[in-house]
């Protein structure tokens, strides 16, 4: 996985705010908002995929960043 890939919130409506993704993120790229998970600092994302692999609700997805 190239480092230019970034996390994306694929299905924001499915988030149940359990906070597991925030705890596993090694670079604090995510944060919990009022309605669900939000991206806090996209630049710090290293596309390790920890969040999308552990998310029980299929909310997050790591995608290829074209820019």
């Amino acid at each position: 996985m190239a480092r230019s890939d970034k996390v994306q919130i694929e299905n924001p409506d499915w988030c149940k705010k359990c906070g597991i993704c925030v705890s596993v993120c090694p670079t604090d790229a995510l944060k919990l908002g009022d309605k669900g998970i939000e991206i806090y600092n996209l630049d710090s994302c290293i596309s390790c995929e920890q969040c999308s692999l552990i998310c029980p609700d299929f909310v997050l997805k790591v995608v290829v960043n074209y820019d």
């Binding site: 694929e10 299905n11 409506d13 499915w14 149940k16 705010k17 359990c18 906070g19 597991i20 705890s23 692999l53 552990i54 998310c55 029980p56 609700d57 299929f58």
Partner: protein
Amino acid sequence: MDIYKYLRKEKLPHIWCPGCGHGTILNSFVRAFDKSGLNQDKTVVISGIGCSGRATGYLNFDSLHTTHGRAIAFATGVKMANPELNVIVMTGDGDGAAIGGNHLIHAARRNIDLTVILFNNQIYGMTGGQFSPMTPEGANATTAPYGNIDRNFDLCQLTKAAGATFTARGATFNPRQLTNIIKKALLHKGFSFVESFTQCPVRYGKLNQTADPVDMLKLQKQKTADIKKWLQFSDEEKEIIYPLGVLNEEINPENEYTFRYQKIIEKTLEKGVL
């Protein structure tokens, strides 16, 4: 990797509680299935009753949601009727180890080519938090308010002793390893058993002072170790820590049940019995 093609998106979000690890196992399963290269149209997913029973409803495969504990019995029927199918069973600790415990050991004894993924949340979550055969000794449940006095099964040892040719254990805190384990189990010819620890923050957690799913994952990490590390532990440590990874694998496709059954069919056809 497009995992969403394996999911019935119209059925999501699922009904599992916030922080429930069952979704993580489902997530690992769809990734493992994608990596295994198996045909989605030639796969049947079967589940019983309980929280884990909901899994088949969210998967875009041919699926069966069966009676309590009987998922493996239905799966055996499907596999015998059409041995070409990949048959996967999703069961829970109450469904697979308690009510369906006999089906589990006998399917293992026959070494029939099923992949059983057991969601071990250590409690009967859906029915209100009664203790299951996998509830740890001393843990609280609604039917054990002063602590559970039952000893629990080591399901990997149990199925191995019964004859399973692939046994492995994973945990939701390490989805990468869980995905690899499930992929190997899917490709194994013979009875493959995968036990996965999963957190139940709402039922188990609230009764045991760990209602935060993140804390439960940390506890899971403390109570488990990779099999390579685990083998170097002292005997006392081995009793309290569970090994993770592929624990047992025997490669002998000719020992598989439907293969042996096919041999009998051929033999009877030769003799002109049928």
